[in-house]
């Protein structure tokens, strides 16, 4: 085990002290109207990813989420592109990113000319930004202790709780013991586990945070009459939300939970954390919580995850910008059928080929490989799905965003 714990690879040191496993330029659009131009700028460009917010009316949650992604350890520089009418301000995004020491540029399409002119201008800006971070970003040694890894599950079936999630749990135990951060979310998939979850709290403060997050998730589900379980889950053999929750919670491994963070917040100390992405009650009631797997992945990346694990039983073909997504399935038949998309076959635990600790260690080795620069399957396929929407969460300070 010690060889894995000491394994080191060169990372990218950001001016704010954080360490990344990729050196990316991020293009951010601030309204749907600028979406085409933003994607055209990034099209065909190496190490350039895109995110954006479709709304014209701004939203503090969405701005904070974009700023957390813009200042992510894997991001070296940012270009924000607006149309020119919207509330969200690309200039303020760029200013906030610059304050983190990263180079950033911005422009309004309406002030640059039309589509072609704006795309040409954007391409010139990103090529300068990319050159700058390639030349100037210091390389530093990284180990597992420097990693934050998130885990999401989607397309769960009867194998997810038996193999897929427990193998991630075994890896999370190993990562936490190495001094790293492990983050998982989906409190709406902890429904039915209140007492069990509270026994995992590291201290009284964490227990209080977990109870509050659980109670809100249950109020939310009752209020919208939607529990986080879908037709595909049923077809895969899961019958109730309680059953799905038990399987989902297995990804948290066995170590104590340090506390709860919200979207765009970073873990406050090393260890295992739960991310609460459920909206807070608000004048518009709850609104909707994450409507798909991709938004959950965005939230985990906003917590600083340099790599995200995605556990699926039935299969999935999504990826993510900014942080490579590594796909784990507990269903060997799914692994064979979707081998071009699946990174890790955790179903070998069910066939008796591997023990759970062996599989956790093998997954850790794969994560180190990805951190070192090997492309995960979704990353190599060019999957860069993202999703940022309106939501309301009370977070400590709006100064973290740009509407303060």
């Amino acid at each position: 085990m010690s060889d894995l714990l000491n394994k080191s690879w060169p990372g990218f040191l950001r001016p704010d002290g954080r360490k990344g496993v990729r050196n990316l330029v991020l293009v951010i659009y601030t309204v749907e109207c600028a979406q085409h131009v933003a994607h055209a700028i990034a099209n065909g460009e190496e190490d350039v990813h895109v995110i954006g917010f479709p709304g014209c009316y701004d939203n503090a949650y969405a701005i904070r989420l974009m700023l957390a992604l813009a200042r992510h350890p894997n991001v070296g520089a940012v270009l924000s592109v607006g149309l020119g009418c919207e509330y969200t301000q690309p200039e303020k995004l760029a200013e906030t990113v610059r304050a983190s020491g990263r180079p950033a540029e911005w422009f309004f399409i309406q002030q640059s000319g039309g589509t072609k002119t704006s795309v040409a201008k954007g391409k010139e800006l990103i090529s300068r930004l990319r050159e700058k971070i390639r030349q100037e970003t210091p390389r530093v040694p990284m180990t597992l202790a420097d990693l934050t890894v998130g885990c999401e599950c989607g397309g769960s079936d009867g194998t997810s709780g038996l193999a897929g999630n427990p193998v991630v749990g075994a890896f999370f135990d190993l990562l936490v013991d190495a001094g790293g951060n492990a983050v998982f979310e989906e409190t709406v998939e902890m429904i039915g586990l209140r007492e069990h979850m509270l026994t995992r709290a590291a201290n009284a403060g964490a227990k209080q945070q977990l109870a509050a997050a659980y109670d809100k998730a249950e109020r939310y589900c009752r209020s919208v009459r939607q529990w986080s379980v879908s037709p595909g889950n049923f077809a895969g053999g899961l019958t109730t939300i309680e059953e799905k929750s038990l399987g989902a919670f297995a990804k948290g491994g066995t170590r104590k939970i340090q506390g709860v963070i919200r979207v765009a917040e970073q873990p406050r100390e090393p260890g295992l954390w739960i991310l609460d992405s459920v909206p807070d009650e608000h004048f518009m009631q709850f609104g909707y919580t994450n409507p798909n797997d991709t938004e959950g992945i965005m939230d985990l990346i906003s917590a600083g995850s340099q790599i995200v694990l995605f556990v699926t039983g039935r299969g999935s073909v999504i990826g993510s910008p900014i942080a490579p997504l590594v796909k784990v399935t507990g269903n060997s038949a799914t692994f064979r059928a979707m081998q071009e998309d699946m990174d890790f076959d955790a179903g070998r635990v069910l066939s008796g080929e591997l023990t759970l600790p062996q599989a956790g260690r093998e997954l850790a080795e794969m994560i180190v490989g990805v951190a070192r620069g090997e492309a995960s399957k979704p990353e190599a396929l060019g999957h860069r799905e993202y999703f940022i929407m309106y939501k309301h969460q009370k977070t400590p300070s709006l100064a973290e965003g740009c509407r303060a």
């Binding site: 039915g192 009459r225 037709p231 053999g237 109730t240 309680e242 069910l350």
Partner: protein, 110 residues
């Protein structure tokens, strides 16, 4: 080779099928080692009752209550949406048994 089912905890009254199974003998592994006669076809990932479960009795998996029986479930029967419901999710009894698709929103597609 007979199909296999995995029992997670000793007090579980259901096990998860590791292979697709027809009616017939199933080998139980995990918390106990046993053989059970499946009464019907059960797909991989789905659950089989390890003993008779009475109406309203807790269905246990992972050693935890995952809902309650909505009718008497015989030993060896498929346990799913037709005989197990969530204690919380009032929608769980309305779903199509085979596809899991909702039936309470059918009118929305008209």
């Amino acid at each position: 080779m007979s199909s296999r089912a995995f029992q997670i905890q000793a007090n579980d009254n259901v096990a998860t099928l590791l292979d697709d199974a027809n009616a017939g003998e199933i080998e139980v592994t995990g918390a106990s080692r046993d053989k059970i006669h499946s009464l019907e076809k059960i797909s991989r990932g789905h659950k089989i009752a390890l003993r008779e479960i009475a109406l309203n009795e807790a269905v246990m998996k992972f050693g935890v209550r995952i809902g309650h029986a909505t009718k008497t479930i015989n030993r060896g029967a498929w346990v799913h949406l037709h005989n197990l419901a969530s204690d919380l999710d009032e929608r769980s009894g309305t779903l199509d048994l085979h596809s899991g698709a909702p039936t309470d929103t059918n009118s929305a597609y008209v």
